[in-house]
Structure formats: structure tokens, C-alpha cells
């Protein structure tokens, strides 16, 4: 079994099975460090729960969804640019090419701030994630070059088996 300390968050969140729950509770009786850890984890969990936003609007989005599905219009982007694979790959290629051009044309490291400028501009130009809504970026928001060059996985909402 994993160390008890690693199970504390799962215990607080109610994610443990019966055996694990009993093991944690038994341990907490005798270990003041873990007990304190559990108390803190529980306090944070409660604070988070208290900060939950209850959506105040009772107005249903159904009329708007219905109108959009009946008219066949998705959203403005799709209307303007289409949403077919050829369009996605074409725009990705164009965006990468534009990013590379900007990266070459803007001097990097020649003066204060120039690197930041090049990076920011390139990021703006190569980001075409809005085209597909797929997950191309890492958790911290950094795009992997492979992801961009390979066009990433655009079928991110497939529901599998």
C-alpha cells in the first residue's frame, strides 16, 4: 500500500476504498503530523467548497442552442474559415510559416527586450489552437513544436469505446 501520507488528500475527498479509509483513520489516531496534514487538507477542501460559484442564471441556453443547431451555423469562426481538415492543416501550415518568418526577421538578442519581442510575436502567430479547440499546449501553456508541426490530434472529443 502507498504511504499513508499520500492517501490523505484522497481520504479528505472521499476517493479511498474502505480498506484504505480504515488504514488512514487508524494511522491518524497515532500520528500527529499526518493528523495535522489531514486537518489542513480538510480545511482547504472546505474553503474551496465554500468558494464554489453557483451559476446564478436560471435562464436556459436551450433557445440559443436550438437556433444554432437548426440554422446549421456553428460559430463565427467556422462560418468564416470553415472547419474541414484541409482548412485546419492549411491554416496550421500558414501559421507555422508565418511564425518562422517572424522568428527569422526579428533580431534575437541584439538588444534589450528583443528576445521577448520575437518570442511573443512568434507565439501569437503560430497559435492556431482556436481553429480546432484541441489541446496542443502543455499544462503551462508552452506549445510543443512537434505538436504544431504534426497538427496535433484534432479529434479530441472522440468518446472512445
Amino acid at each position: 500500500m502507498r504511504h499513508i501520507r499520500e492517501l490523505i488528500q484522497g481520504y479528505v475527498a472521499g476517493e479511498l476504498d474502505r480498506e484504505q479509509t480504515e488504514a488512514v483513520e487508524e494511522h491518524l489516531v497515532s500520528c500527529s503530523d499526518c493528523r495535522r496534514e489531514a486537518e489542513q487538507a480538510g480545511a482547504l477542501w472546505e474553503m474551496l467548497g465554500a468558494a464554489s460559484v453557483n451559476h446564478p442564471e436560471d435562464r436556459s441556453i436551450w433557445p440559443a442552442v436550438r437556433a444554432r443547431t437548426q440554422s446549421g451555423s456553428g460559430n463565427t469562426r467556422e462560418w468564416l474559415f470553415g472547419n474541414g481538415p484541409w482548412m485546419r492543416s492549411g491554416l496550421v501550415t500558414a501559421a507555422v510559416a508565418a511564425g518562422l518568418v517572424v522568428g527569422i526577421l526579428i533580431p534575437v538578442g541584439d538588444g534589450p527586450g528583443s528576445l521577448e519581442l520575437a518570442t511573443e510575436e512568434s507565439s501569437w502567430l503560430v497559435d492556431s489552437s482556436w481553429i480546432s479547440g484541441s489541446s496542443w499546449l502543455s499544462e503551462d501553456g508552452a506549445a510543443g513544436l512537434d505538436d504544431i508541426l504534426l497538427g496535433a490530434d484534432l479529434s479530441d472529443e472522440g468518446n472512445g469505446s
Binding site: L48, V53, W62, E157
Partner: protein, 186 residues
């Protein structure tokens, strides 16, 4: 006694063009989806906008949807991807200021100091939440606010249960350090 159709049945009927089934599906889930998106984006308007996008996608994918009793995870996967995509655009379009968790709470009601203090604390928590990396935030919101189990969160985020645990642990560690000293036990 009429039986309430499950989500997979409603999806199948939606795929056959039954508007009433799709309507039921939207009305069944819209509140949860909007709530999730408000937590992710911090804006009611954007949440409503993306909630519509989410259900339009659901409608369009109805024919290819394969029933496996995991509709909720699939739905939140769509909403989550849309939210993260929107967050990425915000990160790049830096001139659009992100105002974390601005939402209509029903008007300003002057209350006692305790209420004010509580409100401030909630705002601090939401602000800290809004500063988390998007995947950590997504995992935490799905689990804590939408009530999805680790397994469902993993399905919604196309990762593993240990992966979800890790995301949530890191999110909570960050929140705890940011909120240290602001709560009774933190």
C-alpha cells in the same frame, strides 16, 4: 409510470433527429456545464457562450457518439477543451484582461463584517484558482465543484487516475502556499 431516459438513450434519439431528446439533454446538463465553465473562465458571459458551443458540438457529434455510459465525462471533455482553448487565447491576447471570477451574485448586499470577510476570502480563493495552470484547474474544478470522481475526471481529461491525483495534488499544494495565513488552519 414513465421511465426517465438515460443520457445514452437521449444521444441515440438525438442522432435520429428527435429534438425533444436533445432538448432534454441540454436542460439536464446545462447548469453543470455552465458552472464548470464559470469556474474555469471566471466569466458568466463567456461561460454561457462556451456552454452553447459545447452543446452545439454534442449535437453535431451525436451520430458518431458511441454509448458506453460515460456521457458526463465526454461532455466535460468537450467543455474542458473549449475552456482551455479559450484560456490559451487569453494568454496570447494579453490586452484582454482576465478578471477572475467576476460573477453576478445577485447585487451588492451590505452585510456584517463576517460576511465581508468571507466574501474576501472566497475572492482570494477564486483568484488563486484562476492562477493555476489550466489542466490543474480543470482537474480540480471537475472533482471539487462538479463532483466527478477521479475516474470520471481521468476520462474527461484523457489521462489516468494517478495523473488526475497528481494534477489535483499539485493544484492544492499551490493553493495552499498562496493562501497560507489566510485561513484558520492553513
Amino acid at each position: 409510470m414513465s421511465q426517465i431516459p438515460d443520457d445514452d438513450t437521449l444521444m441515440a434519439r438525438t442522432a435520429r433527429g428527435e429534438e425533444a431528446a436533445f432538448r432534454l439533454l441540454v436542460q439536464r446538463w446545462e447548469r453543470e456545464v455552465k458552472s464548470f465553465l464559470v469556474h474555469m473562465l471566471g466569466s458568466v458571459e463567456e461561460a454561457e457562450d462556451l456552454a452553447q458551443d459545447t452543446f452545439v458540438k454534442v449535437y453535431r457529434k451525436a451520430e458518431s457518439y458511441r454509448p458506453a455510459g460515460k456521457f458526463r465525462s465526454w461532455l466535460f471533455r468537450i467543455a474542458g477543451n473549449l475552456a482551455r482553448s479559450r484560456l490559451r487565447r487569453r494568454g496570447i491576447l494579453k490586452w484582454i484582461r482576465f478578471d477572475p471570477f467576476v460573477h453576478d451574485t445577485g447585487g451588492d448586499q451590505p452585510g456584517p463584517d463576517k460576511v465581508l470577510e468571507q466574501t474576501q476570502r472566497e475572492q482570494e480563493i477564486r483568484k488563486a484558482l484562476a492562477g493555476l495552470p489550466s489542466r490543474q484547474r480543470q482537474a480540480l474544478v471537475l472533482h471539487r465543484f462538479q463532483g466527478l470522481r477521479y475516474k470520471e475526471v481521468a476520462a474527461a481529461m484523457e489521462t489516468t487516475v494517478p495523473g488526475v491525483e497528481s494534477l489535483i495534488q499539485r493544484a492544492l499544494a499551490t493553493l495552499r502556499s498562496q493562501l497560507a495565513g489566510k485561513g484558520d488552519l492553513l
